[in-house]
Subunit: 339 residues, 2 copies
DNA sequence: CCCTTCTCCCAAAGCGCTTTGGAGAAAGCA
DNA sequence: TGCTTTCTCCAAAGCGCTTTGGGAGAAGGG
C-alpha cells in the first residue's frame, strides 16, 4: 500500500495525507484523525527510499573503523558503540558500521558523502591533527567527534575532561604523599591520551615535581599491557609507590602484577584508574575496590549521537561542544605512601 | 553533478550514460570509454537515494541486538560483527546496527522491512525455536542465520559443526582415560550450546557413559564464569579430571581456578575448549598452550555476509546452507587421566 | 455588505536514477 | 538489390514521496 492508494481510498489528495502523517499544521484535526486511523488500519508505512529522494535526508549515519586493527574487540569502543546505537535507534536513524583499510579511509568517507548515503558521520579516536576532520568539513558533511583535536576547526564534539580527571587523580596521590607515580596510558597518538598525560604533568608541576619519563607508558589498553608494565615497574630499583592507569583494564593487569609480586594493593602500592563504566569489569567489585575517575563511555556514545543529530538538524557547532566533568571516587586501592 | 548534466555534456541520453556506467552490454565500447572517462573527470557519483528508489534495492542490511544485554561487549559477537563489516564493506553494502529492546524486537524487524529500509537481515544467536525466523520468512525478507534452529524452516545459514567438535573433544578426553568430565557451556537457550551438549553426550554414550548433570554448567561465556564454576568443580568431593569449555574465555577462567587451587594443568586437570579465534586471547599462547577445537568466528561473519548477499541476489536457500567443519588441535593442556 | 484574512485542501512539479519499448543505422544474407 | 538482424542509442515513463504555489470557502473586520 502506497501513499497514492491511501489517498484515493480516503478521497483526499496525496498532499493532505502526507502532511497529516508528518504532523504539518495545515490540516484539520478531524481530517488528520481519519487519515491516521486509516493509515494504521491498512498498515501503511512510507517507503524509505522515496522519502529519502524527496527530502534529501537519508536517515542514516556512519562510523568507520580500521579493518586491520579490529577496534570492535576493544570493549571501550564496543560500549561506546552501544550508546550510539541506542540513541540512533530511538531517533529511528540507521547507524552503519564500516570496516575500512587505513589507506582507503579518506576515500570511504568521500565515497559515502558524495553518494549521499549518509547524513553524517561519527568520528572516533581522533588524533591530534586529524585529516578526517578537515576532509569532512570541506565536504560540508555533518560530523561529530568523540574527543577533541588540536586542529583549529570548529566542530561538534563530546569529550570528557581527561586533563582535569588525571590532574585530580594525580593530586590525590600527591596529597597522600606519593612522589614516584607511574602513568599507564593509551596510545600516544590519540588525543585523549595526551590530555591525560598533560593533566598528570600539571599536577606534578603544581608541586614543583616533574614527570619521570621512565614511569610513563603508552600502549593498547588491555589487561596484558597493564600486567606487563606493572611487573617492570615493580622490579625497578626504586619502584613507584603509585600507579595511575588510563583504563580499568590496565588497572586489572596492574592488580595481577601486584599480587604476583606479593604486594598489598592500597598499602604497598596504590592504584587508581579511569573507569569508563565497562559493564563486565566494575571498579567497585575488584578486590580491593579500585579508586577511579568515572565517566560512562556508553553514555558518551549516547550524548555524541544527540550531538550529531543536532548538527544534522542544523544547529551551529558552537552549541554542540560538550566536555563532561569526571568524578573522582575514592576507594581502598589507594592509601598513603609508605615512609 | 548529476546524470542529466553528465549526459548533456556528452551529448548523449541519460539512458546511455546510465547503461555505460552500470556495465550493460548495449553500448559501444568506444562510447563507454568516453563516458567513463568523463564521469571520472567530473567526479560524478550516482545518488544513492535515487538509485534505491529506481531499483528497489537499498544496498543495506541490518543486524539487531538486544539493548538491555549489551551483546556488543561480548567479544564473540564483536569479532563476528567485524567479519560481517568486512565483507559488506567489500560489497559496498551498508551494515546497520540496531539496538532494540526485547519487547520491541519483532516490531523493529517488521518496521525496517515494510519501510523498505534494508535488503536483508543477519540473525544472530538463534534460539531453538525462534519467532524471528518465521516473521522474516512471512515478510518475504531475505535473511541469514548465524547458527541453526529447530524450526522446520528452510533458510540460509552458516554454522560450525558444534556437535561434531564437542563429540571429538570429548572422545579425545575419553581416549586419555578421563571419565569425570565437566562441561562449561553457553546459555542453554542458544542453539549452539545445545548442539555442543549433544556432542558431549553422544561421545559419552558411545562409551556406555552418561553425562552427570552436576558437571554441566550453562551461563555467559566470560572469564569470571569459568573461574567460579571451575573452583566449585575442583572443590567437589570427586572433582572432574577434565574440563571441556565452550570458549577460550571460560577456559581462561578455568586456568586461573586451577592455579589458585595449586593444580597443574595438563597433569592434575585437563582443559580443552572451543576457540573462536578471538584476537586478544590466543589459545596457543596460554601457559600451558590450550588444546582446542578451532574455528574463526570472524571468518564465520565473513561467510555469513556472503551467504546473505547470495540470498539477496536470489539464490535458493538450499544452496546457502553451510556447516563448517571444526579442527581439533592437541596441545599440552590435556594429558592422560591420573590413576 | 464588501473586502481581507485564515483555514483547509489540491494539482502538479520535482527528487535523480533505471528501464521499457522503440528507432535509425549498419551489417549480414540471399 | 531488397530484406532481416544486430548494434547503438534515445525519449519517456516510472519509482513513491515531499513541497511549492495556489484556490475555494468560511470567518472576521470595517
Amino acid at each position: 500500500m502506497k501513499l497514492k492508494d491511501l489517498a484515493e481510498h480516503l478521497q483526499l489528495s496525496q498532499t493532505t495525507v502526507s502532511r497529516a502523517l508528518n504532523g504539518y499544521p495545515e490540516v484539520a484535526e478531524e481530517t488528520r484523525r481519519r487519515i491516521v486511523e486509516a493509515a494504521r488500519r491498512f498498515g501503511y508505512t512510507p517507503n524509505a527510499a522515496a522519502r529519502r529522494l524527496a527530502t534529501g535526508r537519508t536517515g542514516s549515519v556512519a562510523i568507520l573503523f580500521p579493518a586491520e586493527r579490529n577496534l570492535l574487540v576493544d570493549p571501550h569502543f564496543s560500549d561506546f558503540l552501544a550508546g550510539l546505537a541506542e540513541k540512533f535507534g530511538e531517533a529511528d536513524m540507521d547507524l552503519s558500521l564500516k570496516a575500512t583499510r587505513k589507506t582507503e579511509e579518506l576515500d570511504t568517507y568521500r565515497h559515502l558523502a558524495t553518494m549521499g548515503r549518509v547524513d553524517g558521520f561519527i568520528v572516533s579516536s581522533p588524533r591530534s591533527h586529524d585529516e578526517r576532520l578537515s576532509l569532512l568539513a570541506g565536504l560540508n558533511m555533518p560530523f561529530a567527534v568523540h574527543g577533541r583535536s588540536q586542529d583549529g576547526l570548529d566542530f561538534p564534539y563530546f569529550d570528557i575532561d581527561n586533563e582535569g580527571a588525571f590532574r585530580q587523580a594525580t593530586e590525590l596521590l600527591l596529597d597522600l604523599g606519593h612522589e614516584r607515580i607511574a602513568l599507564l596510558n593509551g596510545i600516544r597518538e590519540l588525543n585523549f591520551a595526551q590530555a591525560r598525560e598533560e593533566g598528570f604533568r600539571l599536577a606534578l608541576a603544581g608541586r614543583g615535581l616533574s614527570a619521570d619519563p621512565e614511569l610513563i607508558f603508552n600502549g593498547p589498553m588491555v589487561e596484558e599491557m597493564g600486567y606487563r608494565q606493572t611487573c617492570h615497574l615493580i622490579d625497578r630499583p626504586a619502584p613507584p609507590t603509585a600507579v595511575l592507569a588510563a583504563s580499568v583494564l590496565l588497572a586489572f593487569g596492574a592488580y595481577r602484577a601486584a599480587r604476583d609480586r606479593g604486594l598489598t594493593i592500597g598499602r604497598d602500592i596504590s592504584i587508581i584508574a579511569h573507569d569508563d563504566g565497562l559493564p563486565f569489569l566494575k571498579a567497585e567489585t575488584l578486590e580491593p575496590p579500585l579508586a577511579a575517575t568515572v565517566s560512562s563511555i556508553r553514555n558518551g556514545g549516547y550524548r555524541l549521537a544527540e550531538i550529531l543529530l543536532g548538527r544534522i538538524a542544523g544547529k551551529p557547532a558552537s552549541e554542540l561542544q560538550e566536555v563532561a566533568p569526571v568524578d573522582l571516587v575514592f576507594r581502598p586501592s589507594v592509601g598513603s605512601a609508605r615512609k
